[in-house]
Structure formats: structure tokens, C-alpha cells
């Protein structure tokens, strides 16, 4: 959390400041809802799959993203580092900017990230000047390697993409938050605002969500609910959570009280 300036509480990634801690996904819902979702989410960063960005074609997602929002193109479709690097370069060529979210999957069922290939791609792209935000399975050693390779943030998954299962990897994400000196952005699996709030209370720097919003009955309203939850969680984290008593009330010093006798 070293990059967070607490009195202004900005999220800083790759030298760029964001006041919003909600990274919105753009897939899986109607293009004409993107603008409203961005506004209700208060999002300053939006992900898009480069493979959805058709140059000049019908239903081009790029035409629907409001100006002023930072694009976070992802490399979905890549099955190894080499393919991710190619997609990232293409993304820069077509004007999607310097940010890139690395997604490398070689599993069509769960879409779980390939950590090893992700490290390789991060190293190459960081050297080429990209602001690299790798999507990864929360593993402390890998997170350290990613930082070493030049990642600007770490994006551990909470649960498989699209599963809406929430913080299945909570304990391991907490370790990354505690140990890695980079913004930890919880990505994938967040299915409800309460889960996003919990991630923020844990000290996550931001939350990324797509399916939870895309599959909601009212997309903009769910985007707003998610924003409020993320803000609440952030405030709670900054305020410092009180002690949680897991086994009911505690008597005062039942074991060591004798020291005062």
C-alpha cells in the first residue's frame, strides 16, 4: 500500500492517479449500457478484451466507452506468454494505450490463469514500457516474481471468472496484501457488493468486476451498488476495523489475571 497517499486516498498505478477504486468490465452486457454503467460505477478505468475491439466493424465496443476513462485492454485469448505479448503489442498499435491486463489461460473450462506464462509475459511487456497488470492465481512466490518482473499491480482472482462465488481465495489474497508492496486488485469471482466490500476491508487497493454487474437485473444500478460497497469497504479499511470476537464475549485476562493478584 506504499503508493497510497492516505490523506487524499488515491490509487496510483503506473504513475497514474485514480480516485475510483472500482475497475469495471465491459463484456457480457449490452454496449449501450456501458456509458451508464461507467457513470453509475464512478469508474475511471474499464477493461476490454482486445479481441472484442473490432476495427471499424459493427458493434465495436470502443465506440461505446466514454472519453476520459482509462482503457485497460486485456489479452484474453492468449494461451501462452508469446500470444499475450502479441496481443498487447497489437493493443498499443490500435491506440488502446499503455495499460495492459495480462490474461493467459490454457483451460477453457475454468479460465484459470497460467501463472508461469504470466510472469514471462509481464517481464517482456514491462521492458517494452507497458503498465502491466497481471491476472493471477494468488500465490505469494509468483506475486513476488511478478513484482520483480515489473508488474504495476497484482490482480489475484477471488474465484473463477464469471462464477460469482466471491472470495474463495480470501486467505491467500490477504497474504499478498500483507506482503507485496504493490496495489493488490481483486479480480474475478466477485459476485455481490458485500464481497467487494469485504475485499476492500481486507486492504485490497481496488476491485474489478464484470459478470456480477452484467448479469444483474439492472446493470447501472448494480454498478452503483458495487461502487458504494467498494467505497464503504475502503473507508472501513482506512478507519481500522475493530476487533472481531469469534467466540462470544471474553472475560478479562482469565489466564494471566493472576499476575495482577
Amino acid at each position: 500500500m506504499s503508493e497510497v497517499v492516505k490523506n487524499e486516498d488515491k490509487l496510483v498505478i503506473g504513475g497514474k492517479e485514480f480516485s475510483s477504486r472500482f475497475i469495471l468490465g465491459s463484456g457480457k452486457y449490452s454496449l449501450d449500457l456501458i456509458k451508464a454503467a461507467v457513470e453509475h460505477a464512478g469508474a475511471q478505468m474499464i477493461t476490454l478484451a482486445l479481441r472484442r475491439a473490432n476495427q471499424g466493424g459493427m458493434a465495436n465496443i470502443l465506440d461505446y466507452i466514454p472519453e476520459g476513462v482509462t482503457l485497460l485492454p486485456n489479452t484474453s485469448g492468449a494461451r501462452n506468454a508469446e500470444e499475450a505479448v502479441r496481443i498487447a503489442r497489437l493493443s498499443r498499435e490500435v491506440g488502446c494505450g499503455e495499460f495492459v491486463k495480462i490474461e493467459i489461460m490454457r483451460d477453457s473450462k475454468y479460465l484459470l490463469p497460467d501463472n508461469e506464462e504470466t510472469i514471462k509475459a509481464t517481464e517482456i511487456l514491462a521492458k517494452e514500457g507497458f503498465i502491466v497488470m497481471p491476472y493471477m492465481y494468488p500465490d505469494l512466490n509468483v506475486a513476488r516474481d511478478l513484482k520483480e518482473a515489473g508488474a504495476a499491480s497484482i490482480m489475484p482472482l477471488a474465484a473463477p471468472i464469471g462464477s460469482n462465488k466471491g472470495l474463495c481465495t480470501k486467505e491467500f489474497i490477504q497474504i499478498l496484501i500483507d506482503e507485496i508492496d504493490l496495489p493488490i486488485i481483486v479480480d474475478a469471482g466477485i459476485g455481490a457488493p458485500s464481497q467487494a466490500c469485504e475485499a476492500m476491508e481486507m486492504g485490497a487497493a481496488a476491485v474489478m468486476a464484470n459478470t456480477a454487474i452484467a448479469t444483474a437485473g439492472d446493470v447501472p444500478v448494480m454498478a452503483e451498488a458495487m461502487r458504494l460497497a467498494i467505497e464503504a469497504g475502503r473507508k472501513a479499511y482506512l478507519a481500522g476495523l475493530g476487533r472481531v470476537m469469534e467466540k462470544g464475549g471474553s472475560a478479562s485476562s482469565p489466564l494471566t489475571g493472576f499476575l495482577r493478584d
Binding site: M58, A59, S108, K109, A214
Partner: protein, 394 residues
């Protein structure tokens, strides 16, 4: 059938289980496992309790899939639809992918008694040359589509691998996504076509019942059941990104065929986890010069049951709804389980451009003749998002 066809007599046919010369033999147990499981599948043993249990499970097991395909599932069709829709939305959101098939040749060396392209059927044959392919593709690309499925009749002589490869290279100029539905080939040939720009291969097994298969595919390389069965595995080994599966429902026992189709895809996905899986769900359609064939066995309810069972069993798979189905069915199935729909379809040869004399007859009759704009609008009217491409060639 005015002339004597020797293969109509069983003693004149070759063995449908023996590979012909030049056919690659895979070291794989997938076929055996699928056939054993299909033969053991007794759909009448499943009860309402099994269906309810299947719907209660978060992960759909093979047994759950079997229950969802059974007659016991029919009273739960609405509950199954709710679950299927939920899975579709989780994995695809409201995206519906659009494409069109392009038939570039209809010469065929096979004698499949239910197919309009069969070598004994007196239809007008055609094969587009490269210039005509380019014109057709340019005309299709103008409609806004970015995905094309290239089809040929199954004739290696008239549509060799090189010819198909040239079609792929031309397609790369006009489309982002190129799929193939051509005769099965060896993995090195799939690798070549992958280099030419294709990334998806669909092969219909038609029926997984090899005894029935033998009575329907009387001559030609398609007669060889195991070579066809191995096509998807060879395509994956050849570097294709995704493979499509289908049984032509109605040829044989559709429940067993649907079970085998799903299980075939399931085993290959486990063996090759990176491979993308797709299903097509064709029912028999009437064809030219054969009035006996009618899609009577598989009613709309059963078709929907099969599509939804595929969806719940493999929620991440692409499912295409065929133009063999009418507008009403297609509009509704994309709301529940299908994620891909064709538009502006012609199943004849050379019909996308005017002033073309080189036209060939159609493979079957289609039931939904809507053009790209009409299908696009219909998708939007269902609250869904038409997507032209979600793919990048790397």
C-alpha cells in the same frame, strides 16, 4: 435412384470400422470410452429424483448430464431452462455471436442416404474458383459479419486441402474468425489449414451408433466411422483452437446420440484443457429428391432438452442454433442456452453474389431466411448483444 447402386446391398459395402489408405490412426482411447458409456446409457432408469439432484448440483456430473437427457427430465423443462439460462449468462453474459456459413463446393464422394449432397443425388454441382470465393466473401463481409464458416461437400478430389487452404487465406482478408466444416483429415492437414488462417473445426459425427452409421453412410471415406470420430482430436493436435461436435438428431436414438456427443466433447476437453468446445444441434431436415426424410422424431421440446443439457453439462461451450430451425425457435433458444446464430444463410453454392452462373444446389432446406440486419435486430429485441467477433488470431 434410377441406376443400380451396388452399395445398397450390404454385402457390397466395405467395412465401416476399417481405416482406408492414408487415414491417420490415433493412439487414443476416447472413442472406446464414448461407445462403452453410450451403450451403457439406459435413459429409462432415471427418475424425477435424479433430475432434481442434477439441478441441485453446482457442478454437473456425467450422471447428471445423463439424467437431464432422460425422459424423466421432460416434466422439469422450465426448471432446466432457468438453470441453463443462468449458466449461459454467467459464462457469456448477454453476448450472442453471429456468423454465416459459406458453401464453396458441393461435390461429394460419399453416399449418405439422408444428405442432399450425396454422390448419387442428381443435383447441380458447383465449385467456386478463387475469384468467385473472394467475391462471395466480399459480399458477405459487407453485411458486417466478421465470422465465416467455410463448407465444402466431402470430395478430396474436387476440393483438396490446398483449395480449402486458399479459401482460408482469402477469408483472412475479410473476416476475423474462420471456421471449417469440411471432410475429416489428418492432423498435419489441419495444421496446414491452421497456418492458412482457420482456427475452428466442426465435424458432425451424425450418429454415434456405429451399426446405424453403417446403414446410412454406404460409400466414400465418410463410411469409416472411427476416422470421422477422431477428427476433433486430430484437429486439436494440428493446432486448431476450437472444435465443434454434433449428432444429427433423428438419425438414430437421439438421447443416446446426444449423450455420446456431450461425453465425446467432455473427454476431449479433459484431455486437451485448452481446447474450446462447441456444439451444434441439427435435426434432420427434408432434402431434395427424398420425401421420406422428415424431422419427426425429435420434437422442439426434445431438441430444447438436448441443447439445455449440453449447456448445463458444459456451461463454457459455444452452442450454435441451426437455420434448420425456424425464427420462433431460434429467437427463444438464444434467450436460454444457445450463444451463436447464423444469419443471411445460403446453403447452396455461389448465391451471395448476383450475375454468377456457377451455382450449385443446396444441401438441405433452411427454415430461417432472415438476413444479417434482421437477425441483428431480433437479438437486440431480446435484450441480448450481437457480437461479430470475440477472437483474435495469434
Amino acid at each position: 435412384m434410377e441406376t443400380e447402386i451396388k452399395e445398397l446391398k450390404k454385402e457390397n459395402r466395405t467395412s465401416h470400422m476399417e481405416y482406408m489408405e492414408g487415414m491417420e490412426v490415433l493412439d487414443s482411447d476416447v472413442q472406446e470410452r464414448v461407445i462403452v458409456a453410450m451403450n451403457a446409457y439406459d435413459y429409462d432408469k432415471y427418475t424425477a429424483k435424479d433430475v432434481k439432484a442434477a439441478l441441485a448440483h453446482t457442478e454437473c456430473t456425467v450422471e447428471d448430464f445423463a439424467a437431464l437427457l432422460s425422459p424423466a427430465a421432460l416434466p422439469f423443462i422450465e426448471e432446466i431452462a432457468v438453470r441453463a439460462q443462468e449458466e449461459t449468462r454467467k459464462h457469456f453474459g448477454n453476448s450472442i455471436y453471429m456468423f454465416t456459413p459459406l458453401y464453396i463446393a458441393n461435390y461429394c464422394e460419399n453416399y449418405c442416404i439422408y444428405c442432399g449432397f450425396n454422390c448419387h443425388n442428381k443435383i447441380k454441382r458447383a465449385r467456386l474458383d478463387e475469384e468467385q470465393i473472394e467475391k462471395e466473401m466480399a459480399a458477405i463481409a459487407k453485411t458486417g459479419l466478421q465470422e465465416i464458416l467455410i463448407l465444402t461437400g466431402e470430395s478430396r478430389k474436387m476440393s483438396d486441402v490446398k483449395y480449402i487452404g486458399e479459401a482460408c487465406k482469402i477469408a483472412r482478408k475479410y473476416f476475423k474468425v474462420i471456421g471449417l466444416e469440411v471432410y475429416p483429415m489428418n492432423s498435419d492437414e489441419y495444421a496446414y489449414l491452421h497456418e492458412c488462417g482457420a482456427d475452428y473445426v466442426t465435424v458432425f459425427q451424425e450418429t454415434y451408433d456405429s451399426d446405424k452409421y453403417e446403414t446410412l453412410h454406404l460409400a466414400g471415406h465418410k463410411r469409416v466411422f472411427p476416422y470421422r470420430f477422431g477428427a476433433q482430436e486430430r484437429a486439436i493436435r494440428g493446432g486448431m483452437r476450437g472444435v465443434g461436435f454434433a449428432a444429427l438428431l433423428g438419425l438414430s436414438d437421439f438421447r443416446k446420440d446426444a449423450f455420446a456427443t456431450g461425453y465425446h466433447a467432455y473427454l476431449l476437453q479433459r484431455k486437451y484443457p485448452h481446447a474450446e468446445i462447441a456444439f451444434s444441434c441439427p435435426r434432420l431436415r427434408p432434402i431434395i429428391n427424398n420425401e421420406k426424410i422428415n424431422p419427426k422424431d425429435v420434437h422442439e421440446t426434445q431438441l430444447l432438452q438436448v441443447i439445455m443439457a449440453y449447456r448445463i453439462f458444459m456451461p463454457f461451450a459455444s452452442i450454435t442454433i441451426s437455420t434448420r430451425e425456424c425464427e420462433r425457435v431460434r429467437n427463444n433458444v438464444i434467450k436460454i442456452a444457445a450463444t451463436k446464430i447464423s444469419a443471411g444463410v445460403s446453403v447452396g453454392i455461389g448465391e451471395h453474389i448476383e450475375d454468377n452462373d456457377n451455382v450449385g444446389d443446396a444441401q438441405f432446406e433452411i427454415s430461417d431466411g432472415r438476413d444479417v440486419d434482421e437477425v441483428y435486430r431480433a437479438i437486440e429485441e431480446q435484450g441480448l448483444q450481437p457480437v461479430m467477433s470475440d477472437y483474435i488470431y495469434v
